[in-house]
Symmetry: C2
Subunit: 166 residues, 2 copies
């Protein structure tokens, strides 16, 4: 993995949406890594990725937006001290450490927001690059959801619940 | 436990809302068993418990509504074959097998709807009556979320992810 030194991560602005959509739409349409409707509309995707219950960030490298993530409380009430994030990287920018940089950034944001832990609710077990990266970032698998994901080419596969303290 | 023979479970109608609210509001306000904002408004609770993404049922005994549950897809896209339910029983009707009857009913509804599994995402570990009942109903703990719930009197306690095939 080549890590780019020039990754800049900042809070998304509303005029970033077209760039965000260019990144997340192929991942949503592929239906291989997120439990989202592959045919969701752009408006639905925008409501999901940039909704009022979360903060959304973009990662820039050489001026271009190459990744995006959100952070939100994973639950309300007694569960509001645990946050949840989702990350997506532009396909053309894969393997450059962008997801890693976004995760590291999100852990700092989460601490600054006062969260005590971060939880990923649904990591597709066959998404080995993601699982390895989250392990590297200090997450442990706290749950295995048997055959919880219908992968478009691999059939029913497990999903993992991963978490770490902050 | 005394099991009532006269429990009748049917799909909720919109005019059932006042009875549903009388059951679920004390549980929401107590903040001990659901990761919902204890101060959520009645409108927010109605949107949550009877939203368009789920079906809502009520349990009647001797004409009175004594319990309610919802069933929904736990995720979209590749996760839509797993359902999720939430159940609440009127405090005055506790210990009469109403939650058990609703769970059994929901398993049948889930099968009829074509779901392959049912998952509870956030069972509070110290809610021993619920944990025991779900075990009785064939659920196994597939995840332990460490200190994921801030219990109003017991402090940080684990939450369990429980699931079963249908």
């Amino acid at each position: 993995m080549r890590t780019r030194a020039d990754i800049d991560i900042r809070e998304a602005r509303s005029d970033d949406w077209p760039a965000i959509w260019r990144i997340i739409s192929p991942t949503i349409r592929a239906g291989e890594t997120y439990a989202l409707a592959p045919d969701m509309s752009e408006d639905e995707a925008r409501a999901y990725w940039t909704g009022p219950d979360r903060r959304t960030f973009v990662a820039q490298a050489s001026e271009a937006i190459v990744g995006t993530y959100y952070i939100r409380a994973n639950n309300a009430g007694g569960g509001a001290h645990v946050c949840n994030c989702g990350y997506m990287t532009a396909a053309a920018a894969a393997g450059q450490g962008i997801a890693r940089a976004m995760c590291a950034h999100s852990l700092e944001v989460a601490r600054a927001m006062g969260y005590r832990a971060m939880q990923f609710n649904f990591v597709i077990s066959v998404n080995v690059r993601a699982v390895r990266l989250w392990h590297d970032m200090g997450f442990v698998t706290v749950g295995v959801l048997p055959e919880a994901f219908a992968h478009p080419s691999k059939g029913y596969v497990d999903a993992l619940v991963m978490s770490r303290r902050l």
